[in-house]
């Protein structure tokens, strides 16, 4: 049987979810008997292959226009999209920005920080434009499986991958793999 292709990517994320994924430790080897990680932010190949993957994993919130592009690209190239972590499911810690407003947050971060001299709010066509409201991935693309947690524990990743590989979709998270914090 050919291996299942998995691609991961991150949006407005702290990398904690990917660290937690790697924290599966030796179980990753077991997983690799059944899957191939085609691409991820922590490997050489960053983008999911155009030929598509079975499972796409997104961590992080939708915070700027670039995040929307990345989320849409992943959605187009995967069969099942998994939103991982509180940021991807709810907006998470990134959504704290909603409470002050994007412009105020940019001003505080780039102009008013105590250590800043001659600050400048980054503005380039190369960069994604910050959105007014930070949201979870589900507000931009259709998500098949949500795995909340800040971050989800390695066991939770392993559980979700095992369920997907066994074809039990939609994945129902039991209490022990379901955490908001």
């Amino acid at each position: 049987m050919s291996k299942v292709l998995i691609a991961t990517d991150w949006l407005a994320a702290c990398a904690g979810c990917h660290m937690s994924l790697l924290d599966m430790d030796e179980r990753i080897l077991e997983l690799l008997n059944h899957v191939v990680f085609t691409s991820s932010p922590v490997t050489d190949l960053k983008h999911p292959p155009e030929s598509g993957v079975a499972v796409g994993v997104l961590t992080g919130a939708i915070s700027n226009t670039h995040n929307i592009e990345v989320a849409r690209r992943m959605r187009e190239r995967c069969t099942y999209l998994v939103a991982v972590g509180d940021c991807a499911t709810f907006g998470g810690i990134v959504a704290a920005r909603n409470l002050v407003g994007t412009q105020a947050a940019l001003k505080r971060a780039y102009l008013e920080t105590e250590s800043t001299v001659d600050g400048l709010i980054p503005d380039s066509a190369e960069l994604g434009r910050p959105l007014e409201t930070v949201t979870g991935v589900g507000e931009v693309v259709k998500v098949d499986i949500f795995l909340p947690g800040c971050p989800p524990r390695p066991d939770d990743f392993f559980y979700v991958f095992s369920e997907v590989l066994a074809g039990r979709i939609p994945v129902v998270l039991p209490q022990e793999h379901f955490r908001y914090d």
Binding site: N98, V100, T133, G138, F146, D181
Partner: protein, 590 residues
């Protein structure tokens, strides 16, 4: 009345007529989730989390308010119910800030638990971005509107349990907001900081400032004990984390107070910042120096042994356990026959009859007479009961020399000379309660005898364990200036005994048993460090005669010891059988 039978999830359940579906299910061990419901409060059916399917009913019904009837068929987790419940939860999560990772209550939050139970792994409604100010104006707790789900538990607790009516909701629908009085900051409102709202809040919207973000709810332990700030002896839980006290919280099943605590009992009891006494001290050449327990107790025994009864004095705080008071009685009354004995608190009023009322009688009464008592100041939880009763239509009449907070709630207030009118009113009532304070005069007490045995009579004594101290003959008047040797059990008394330090004879030998350093312990020639109320177990007799038991949450700090431990060792040194002293005590099994 005969019981009724209904079917819940196919299981036959018997219930009492008038019982709600929720109560009937709970009695049968069937779990129906709730959010706005709290066992200590009236059901309001506001949150719709407890919706169930009832045969013959077109719509789903809230189990917490829907009365159970005979042959009713209920489904509590049918697909229709689960779908509706999930929808209700999605709506609850759609407003305000419910990000758990930055919340003090995560792990103990009832909304979070429901989110897990019904699998809310994402939000179906647009991300909520409105932010509200946190009201941290009260001294001991704060109100974070961002976490509020408008369940009104706090509103009901403030009104129904405490009778204070500070909290309410303003506006309506999505604009509903919790508010204090006419929407003023909580700290400027009529809030009395009893903290009952903090205890009933299902989320992290009302938080104890002292323990906020100190520990996850799953990591705490609880020790059940009683408050010894006044003579009520309210039951409470000490919430502990890794050997540290986080906060004090309601123990709903507590016999005296039914979970209510006042500002002193819930918050201020932990605010003591006086320096602790951690080792025995002995005065040498005018200077206090640490010494060993052995030497200190030997010196105490030597001084007591050699003093004549006429020159020996015992002054005790009423913040001592029954066991310690019994030992004081055995040592100073029976053995040494000390001529001078007294407490820092007023003696209970002399009554020509035995008071038979319990605090819980207050809420069940139809008429309350208060004579020379100020419970709102001295025993606040008793005043909550009184206000609650007044809210339910109980008539309140006071006889007092000067007005108190409760005067405003009374339909009439009489000066002491008109007490006869009030007594007539008591006799006309069906279920009267008479509450008297320590200031009751003999003539008043004699007149009040007319109310017996009809009226439930509650004597609110000042101090803490004053009932036991009085029963053991330790509350006579005392003149410290007349004593050549004076043993003072200061305990953790808050400065009440300090003025005495100046009145003690210069040449007198003073032994102080105290938890905190004070002018009195500085004056003392020998200081025996005592455990605080959180560090000692023991029996207490409260003002209505209920036997209560305190349990230590912490080990004694430093070399300090429990009051009964110190006195037990002293008794042994004086050749007394410490265990025999307990025979003087009422049995403590509460």
């Amino acid at each position: 009345m005969s019981s009724i039978t209904l079917t819940i999830n196919g299981q036959k359940v018997s219930a009492q007529p008038g019982q709600t579906v929720l109560k009937a299910a709970q009695a049968a061990g069937i779990d129906i989730p709730t959010l706005c419901h709290h066992p200590a409060l009236t059901a309001s059916g506001g949150c719709r989390v407890c919706l169930v399917e009832v045969s013959g009913q077109r719509a789903l019904q809230p189990a917490c308010t829907f009365p159970a009837t005979d042959r009713m068929e209920i489904q509590t987790e049918s697909p229709k119910v689960v779908r509706a419940r999930k929808f209700v939860l999605e709506l609850l999560f759609s407003e305000r800030n419910h990000f758990c990772m930055a919340c003090e209550m995560s792990g103990g939050c009832e909304l979070q638990t429901l989110g897990y139970r019904y699998g809310l792994d994402h939000w179906v409604y647009p991300t909520y971005t409105q932010r509200f100010a946190v009201d941290a104006s009260p001294p001991h707790h704060l109100m974070d509107h961002n976490r509020c789900v408008l369940c009104r538990r706090c509103v009901r607790a403030c009104a129904e349990l405490v009778g204070n009516h500070t909290l309410d909701l303003r506006q309506r629908g999505a604009h509903s907001m919790l508010c204090a009085d006419m929407d003023v900051p909580l700290g400027e409102s009529t809030c009395i900081s009893c903290g009952t709202c903090v205890n009933v809040c299902p989320t992290g919207a009302l938080v104890d400032k002292r323990s906020a973000f100190m520990a996850r709810p799953k990591d705490v332990a609880r020790v059940a004990t009683i408050c010894t700030q006044c003579s009520l002896g309210c039951g409470l839980n000490v919430v502990m984390h890794r050997g540290q006290v986080l906060r004090l919280e309601s123990r709903w099943e507590a016999p005296v107070n039914g979970g209510l605590l006042c500002r002193r009992g819930r918050f201020e009891a932990l605010q003591d910042s006086r320096p602790r006494l951690l080792e025995p001290l002995i005065k040498e050449n005018g200077r206090s120096a640490p010494t060993s327990w052995n030497w200190a107790l030997a010196e105490v025994a030597r001084h007591l042994h050699h003093e004549s009864p006429q020159q020996l004095g015992l002054l005790t705080s009423t913040r001592l356990t029954n066991e310690a008071l019994a030992l004081l009685h055995a040592i100073f009354v029976r053995q040494l026959r000390a001529a001078h004995r007294g407490t820092c608190d007023a003696a209970p009023p002399a009554l020509p009859f035995t008071p038979c009322g319990k605090l819980t009688d207050i809420v069940a009464s139809d008429f309350i007479l208060i004579v020379e008592a100020d419970p709102a100041r001295d025993q606040p939880v008793a005043s909550f009961f009184i206000k609650r009763a007044v809210d339910q239509g109980t008539r309140l009449v006071t006889v007092e020399s000067r007005s108190t907070e409760l005067t405003a709630f009374a339909e009439a207030s009489f000066p002491p000379r008109d007490i006869a009118i009030a007594v007539d009113l008591v006799q006309a009532a069906a279920k009267p309660v008479v509450v008297c304070g320590a200031g009751l005069r003999k003539s008043e007490a004699d007149l009040l005898q007319k109310t017996q045995p009809k009226a439930r009579f509650i004597s609110l004594v000042s101090g803490v364990n004053t009932v036991t101290a009085a029963a053991l003959g330790l509350v006579d008047r005392i003149d410290p200036a007349a004593c050549r040797t004076l043993f003072i059990a200061v305990a953790d008394e808050n400065g009440t005994l300090d003025p005495l330090a100046a009145r003690i004879d210069r040449s007198a030998f003073v032994i102080a048993m105290a938890s905190y350093a004070s002018p009195l312990t500085e004056r003392a020639d020998l200081v025996l460090p005592m455990a605080t109320w959180l560090e000692r177990s023991g029996g207490f007799t409260n003002t209505d005669g209920t036997q209560l038991r305190a349990h230590a949450a912490l080990p004694p700090s430093g070399q300090s010891r429990s009051d009964w431990d110190i006195l037990g060792r002293l008794a042994e040194r004086l050749g007394l059988d410490a265990r025999a002293a307990k025979a003087d005590l009422p049995r403590c099994d509460a």
